[in-house]
Structures are given as C-alpha cells and as structure tokens.
Subunit: 499 residues, 2 copies
C-alpha cells in the first residue's frame, strides 16, 4: 500500500498534503495509469489519519481528473500523457512598458496630461463619500448598457446649457473612453463600411480603424475643414471630424461647410458623421461653436465627447449621442453588452455635475489654461523667438500652432530641442502621406508646461531653431525629483494667482 | 444701419445678445448673403455699446462661419443654404431601457447581481480615502495601456497564492470587463480566425463574436469538456473554455482532456485557448483546480479572470494574462490604446489586495455563499421538491443544476414559475441548435436569493412543476418596496450568522 509521511505537512492541511503527494506520484509515473488506489478505510488506517482526510484528497484528485472512480470497485489512476516537455521561454524585457510614461523633459509640448494640481481632489473625495454612504443599493444594481440614468440626465442638461443641444438622456451612451466607443460604433455601423478621417488629424482614430481591419481613408482638409468632393470620390460612408476645433490646426468649420456636410450625409443610405467635440468646453474666448448635431435634422450625426480633458485624463468616462435610428439598432443588436464604467464613478460624476461642481471646475480650468497660454505667448513676445515665430489657433483647446522661420529641417530642430530637454511635435506628423504642405509648424500642447520656466524655455527653443550643431548636449535634463519639486512650486504659485 | 434693442438682454451679456440677434437675422434671411455688415465703430455708436462688444459679436459670427472678412473692407454675410427643412422625428419610447433591471421576482434564479449587503463599503471607502490623499500625483499620471503596475503586481501575487500560477506583472492586461477584453483579443488574434465556444455555454461570448462579425463555431461538450475532434473538424483556431468550472453545467475538465487540448493547440500555427477562470475563487469545497495556463509550456493559453464576482458586478475590472508571443504582438500593434479602467479604481483595488482585504473578502464571500447554498439545499430536502429534484454541480460557483422529474414542458414550468413570482432558466437555453439532450434541468443561480423565504420558494417551485393550469395567478408578486424591506432584514440575519 502507498505510504506517505504526514508528520511534516508544512503549511498544508493533512488532506492537501496527501492530495499533493499522490498527485506528484501520478505525474512522475510512480503510480501508473490504470492502477487502483488503496480503499479509503485501510489507507486512512495505514496513514494514521481520518477517513475524511483520504476522502477529501481523493475528491480533489477526482475533480482534477487525475483519478476516476468505478462504482463499487474504487478509484483508479487516469491515463493521460504529458507529451510536451518543452520549457517555456523566459519573458523578454523589451517591448513591455510597465510604468506610465513619466516625462523628464524640461518642457514637453506633446503631453496632454492633466496637472495633478488641477484636479479638485477635495470636492471629488467629498462627493465619493456621499455616494458611498447614500447610494449603496444603487451602486450594486447592474446598470443598463448605456449607463446609469442619473448620469445620462446630468449630461443631457449639461449639453443643453453648454452647447444648446436638445438631447434626451436615452440617446446618450456612456463608455470607458472614446476609443472604446469607436469600437462599439464599428460594430454598430458595420465592418464593411468605409471610414474617413481628417488629414491632418488625430492619428489615433485611424489606428483604431486599422486595428479593427476596417477600410479607412484620409480626407484632405482646406481652410474650412474636410473636402466634400473627396468624401464622394473615396466613397466614404462614415466621416470622423472635429468641426468645432480641429485637432491640431484649430480650424473651425464654418456654417456653410457644415450644411454641405450634412447634405452629403443625407444623400447616401448609411452615411454618418461622427462629430468629435473633444474640447469644446475649453474654448478660451467667445461662445462655444454650436454643434453639427444641433442643426442635423436628418439624424446623421453621432455626437461624441469626453471628460478626459474637462475632468482628468485618467478618469475614463466618455459618451456619445446616437440619432434615433442608430439608437434603436443599438438596443436591438448590442444591448447585451455590459457597461464599461464602474457604477461608483458614474454616480460620483453625476452628483458632481448635478451639484454645479462640474461647471465651477470648467470655469477654473478655463482661467487656469487662459493664464497659462497668456504667460506663454507673452514669453514668446518678450524673447528672441518673437522674431522667428508666429502663433495661430490660440482661441481654443489646450494647444496652439507655432510657425517658425528657420532654415533647419524639422528633424534637426526636434533633435536639437530634445537635446535642450524640450519635446516638440511638428504639424507634419499629423499628416498622412505626402499631402503635408507645412514646414516648421509645431503643435504646442501647453497643458503640462511649467510657466515659471517660460524664459528659459524660450531661450532653449530659440537655440533649437537657429543653431545647427552638436553643442548643448550637456546635462540639460534634470533629475525627475528636482523637476517634480519645481513643478509643484510653480503650480502652487500659478494656482494662487488664478484660481 | 442694423439696429437692435439692447435694453433687455435677459441673462445674456451684451455681446452674446448682439451675436444672437445678428445670427438670427442671417438665418431668417433678413440679412442676405453677400451683404456687408456695418463697420464696427459706427455700429457701436449707433447701438450705444462699446466697440469691443461689436468686435466680440463679429468674432463669434466669424468663428462660426456666418460672416467672412475681406481685408481692409469689412465683414460680409456668408452664402450658405439650409436645404433640409424636415423635422426630426420624436424619439420613440420603446427599445430604450433606462433604469437597471430591477427584479420584482419573489425569487430570481437568473440574477448574478451582488447583494449590496455583501460589498465591503466601509473598508472600500477607507481605502479610496487613503488613495485620494496619498497618491494624487500617481492618480493623474497616464498609465501604460496594460494598467497601473501596482495593480498588475498585486494580481500576479494573488494568482500565485490562489492559483499557483507563475505570472509576471508585465503579462497582465487590465480592462473594463472581460467583454471589452474579448474585443481586444479579436483585434490581436485576427478577424479572419475561427472562434469556438462551448455548447452548452455562456451565450454572451458568442454574441460578442457575432457582433464583431467573426466566424464563431459551437463545439459540443461531453462529460469531460469540449470535444477535441470537433475542434479539428470545424477548423477552430481559438477556443474559449471554462475548464475549472464549466458554465452552466459545472463540469471540471480532467487533466487528461487538458493535456489533449494543449496538444491540439500546439499542433497548429495560431491556435490559442482562452481560459476563462471567471469564478475559481468561489469554489466552495476542496482546493481550486489548477489552471490550464500553469501547465501550458507552448504558450498557447490566454488566461482571463474578473473581479465581477469576487468584488461586485458593478465595478468593471477584469484582466487577462498573455503568453509572451502575443504580449509582444500586443505592444507592437495595439499599445496606442489608452486604458479603460480609471486610475482611481485601479489604485484602490491594488491597495485593497495588497493589504490583504481582498483575501478576507473572498473568505467572507465563500462563507456567505456556502451558507446560502446549504440553506437552499436543505430546504429542497425538507420540502416536497425532494421527491422530484436532484442536484448537481453544487461544489463551486454561485449556481447548481437542478434536474426535475416532471411531465410538463419546460416552457409550461417556466411560465407557471413566473406566475408564482419565480424566475427559472432551463439548461436547454444554454444550448445552441438542436444538440440539447437535457429536459427539465434548471440552472439555479442563488447569489441573490433571499434565504429567509426558502420554504415558500420550495412550495411555489413544487406547484410550478406539478400542477398544470392557470391557477395561482393571484397577487404573488410583491411590491418592490416590501421586497426590499424583507430582503434587507433577512440579509442582515444571514450576515450576523455567517460573517
């Protein structure tokens, strides 16, 4: 009979230890396939343990299929072969980023990260606490696939107040980021459709279409936005646009082009316009531009917006507004999907909006960014950059365009800027193919720039555009720790000034 | 010259009111296309406002494209036509569920909702507070697409302790629900592949594949799980399985079939197994069954798990573990995707796991559900149901199977049960096509059953299975309010007993 030493089972219980010992013997071939295991009672007696211990060990082996039972006869070892003796390769280190991209630039004009000082931690914490204590039953109730109704109501009201849009809460679908919503839309509108994106434009949209293996066409823009003729030419069905503030050129689509575009959509079955209104709340002067959605009577506009810029980039809540026909199709074919945003954050955000805190926060943001932009533009005007740079698109969003007179190639400028600790992205990188006609125009995202450094930034920028050589490769990068400290100090200063 | 009465602008500022007035006149055709607007200074003088007011109004009209400027001459009304005068149809009410499905059943055996009493609100609130006060900078830092490192580390340790798996945090990708992760996997593995699902099985998986328009085959199961021959026959590339506890039959795939399946995967290029380990933490007796992932040396297993059952169904956090080859492909082709789970919840969950609170919580859950199951099984044994019902698959998960001897058709039973306020789902509904060979077997999800009602539930069940008629249609549904009250009382009682 099998015998095991059960005097030292380590942290295992008796039955676990016994189970593991037998399993090991089976795997190692010590007990062969077809062999009968000892009957429970004599085995237990032999081992000096209770019958229950043996029973539990056998039950586990049975559950995992190492043994099988023959009624009235007992337990037998299963016949299985582990034919694959290869060793797994160790995981390669490369290609696997672990931490978030923590920028060590002196000034990073490509970052869209919300400065942590801007997030209303105190108020948000308070609202979470209230939700956790007041709404426990609702928090545990599975929401409909479009999102909790309270949040959709709050968003509908917000859209009415901020954008003059008449939207019913039912039309709003909440999702964990616009990227996820694009995936839903592809399923809803059809994989066989041809999708169009703006050229130049936000490259990620095309990447998402490509990743879903749907046809994606780049549509050239003129000064008024997307070219309608090209939509017809390339037989686009669905066009993705940023009409209120084109990224990155800042072009606002005039009303005439808007009506042309709506006309294009209504002329073809299955044509839709995705209106990406990603930063309309952050328009820094004048009123927000009315949405395409609000003048669309043929129900061809899918409106999309996000809290990524107005709240913070690490809270993943976006939404879209579907026209009726699509809404019904969605509920008929895709309502089996569970929501992607946790109830906890949906209820918190709903309350945050309802109590007027979102509006207050947006006003704070606008003041903060306006001040930041003004300080940056002022610094340009005070510095040598003034003689070579001209600015455009500064009215809206968190970036402007800077065109620079320089004989240097963009690649050289960017390399030299990088050596100076400054990250620059040329507008040409937002173009697909050879259609780019701009040179030395840069997209200046300023949301994460430390404004206490503007003078130094300008000096370094000027050097990057004017010198051509390997100088300046000295230690211009600062340690992350120093940068954090400085950023903290200067942000505090800025907050005191404007908030 | 244009004249507007600016004495009563309502809540609008002067410039807003002026802008709206002019815009209205343009849209109404009062001012015609090509007409020149008054020069700013005389217009301002005429209206009795400052030049800035006129400038702002013009700037807004310009931004929206209602007017255009001719250098040194002034502003002119744009030529645009609103050719589409149709009215939008009002939104239809039907097909648009708004609130979550709130069950008014006396006993709903289809619900997987976490009872709100089970969620550790106090501890969760405490952990959120700590995170919000300790980690503000991290909370605002954009995480890598796979999720924050802390959480991936915590999950890796959890998998080591609970499942004996050796997984590196780098291999773990966090997502807002397994449904979202399936979408990512389709993009990663290829739309042209053939995907297989278990028959019977969790129908939603097939729905997701269908929604993505990828080929999906139903693979029959025998008593050991999926049939390998059918995988070959139907040329499946990717098979989705629940080997540790098949849903809904409860079958545990024995080790021999596991090795066969791994052998199948390693024989074909591009073959993968998706191991869905959705409820392994809730195995109620014995040790958890080792995962396929842990015995897979050919790197063909994609392991998937969720916090939906172990934490609650409304917190949307799931994860998958990719083998190296797929991991590298993911980072090469899909790392542009932003994460879908908010940093706030990722950091909270990471801390919850790290501080041992998750383990404590799982133990509580197991006790709670074990007690609930035992009370329910005891009630069956005490009642008339005993004579007609036999139970299986009660060792794991939050459901068991109940086979009933009854001459009635399932449809009749379910209708009669519904009339009794009881929601029953037959196993046959989990089958695709005509392959179902079971009759009057029911999948009994008990997580949301009120155990203080078990005797009454059994009586009503017995009636549903034995009588055949329209009686009992009286008022067996209770009002939602009464139900809530009763549920609260009995849950409190249960909590005091077991937690």
């Amino acid at each position: 009979m099998l015998t095991y030493n059960l005097t030292d089972t380590g942290s295992d219980s008796l039955y676990e230890y016994l189970y593991k010992s037998i399993k090991n013997d089976i795997v190692q071939g010590v007990i062969k396939a077809g062999e009968k295991l000892p009957s429970k009672r004599p085995f237990a007696k032999n081992l000096g343990v209770s019958v229950i211990t043996v029973e539990n060990a056998y039950a586990q082996l049975l559950a995992e299929g190492f043994i099988y039972s023959v009624p009235k006869r007992g337990f037998y070892v299963s016949d299985f072969k582990d034919t694959r003796k290869e060793q797994r390769e160790p995981l390669k280190k490369e290609m696997v980023p672990l931490a978030g991209a923590s920028s060590v630039y002196f000034a990073d004009f490509s970052s869209n990260q919300t400065p942590s000082e801007l997030f209303p931690f105190t108020i948000w914490s308070k609202v979470i606490r209230e939700v956790l204590s007041d709404s426990q039953a609702q928090l545990m109730t599975n929401p409909p696939c479009g999102g909790i109704f309270l949040l959709r109501e709050s968003i509908a009201r917000h859209l009415k107040e901020f954008r003059g849009m008449n939207v019913r809460p039912e039309q709003i679908l909440i999702g964990a980021g616009t990227e996820y919503l694009y995936g839903l839309l592809i399923q809803l509108l059809g994989q066989e459709k041809i999708y169009g994106v703006e050229n130049p434009g936000y490259q990620k949209i095309a990447k998402i279409y490509n990743s879903h293996r749907v046809a994606c066409e780049w549509i050239d823009m003129d000064g008024s936005g997307i070219c309608i003729e090209e939509l017809e030419e390339k037989q686009v069905d669905i066009i993705h646009i940023t009409p209120s503030h084109h990224y990155p050129t800042g072009i606002v689509m005039p009303i005439s082009r808007r009506y042309e575009l709506l006309g294009w959509a209504s002329r073809g079955e299955g044509r839709y316009i995705i209106e990406d209104d990603y930063d309309s709340e952050l328009r820094l002067s004048g009123q927000p531009i009315p949405t395409l959605q609000s003048i669309d009577v043929s129900e061809r506009v899918i409106y999309m917006n996000t809290f990524t810029k107005t709240l913070c980039s690490t809270v993943r809540i976006s939404y879209m507004v579907l026209p009726q026909k699509l809404l019904i199709r969605f509920y008929e074919t895709m309502s089996f999907y569970s929501g992607t945003v946790s109830n906890f954050e949906q209820y918190t955000l709903a309350r945050f909006i309802e109590e007027g805190k979102f509006e207050t926060h947006i006003n704070r943001l606008r003041n903060y960014y306006r001040q930041k932009r003004d300080l940056l533009l002022e610094a340009i005007n005070k510095s040598e950059m003034r003689s070579i740079a001209s600015i455009s698109g500064q009215e809206a969003g968190l970036h402007f365009l800077m065109a620079v007179r320089s004989d240097l190639e963009e690649a050289v400028v960017c390399r030299q800027a990088k050596e100076q600790g400054i990250k620059l992205v040329p507008l040409s990188e937002y173009y697909y193919g050879s259609s780019c006609r701009t040179k030395n125009v840069y997209v200046m995202n300023y949301s994460s720039i430390d404004v206490s450094r503007t003078d130094e930034i300008m000096e370094r920028l000027y050097k990057s555009f004017t010198k051509n050589g390997a100088e300046g490769k000295s230690n211009v990068f600062e340690t992350e720790r120093n940068l954090e400290k400085k950023a903290k100090n200067s942000c505090d200063a800025l907050k005191n000034q404007v908030l």
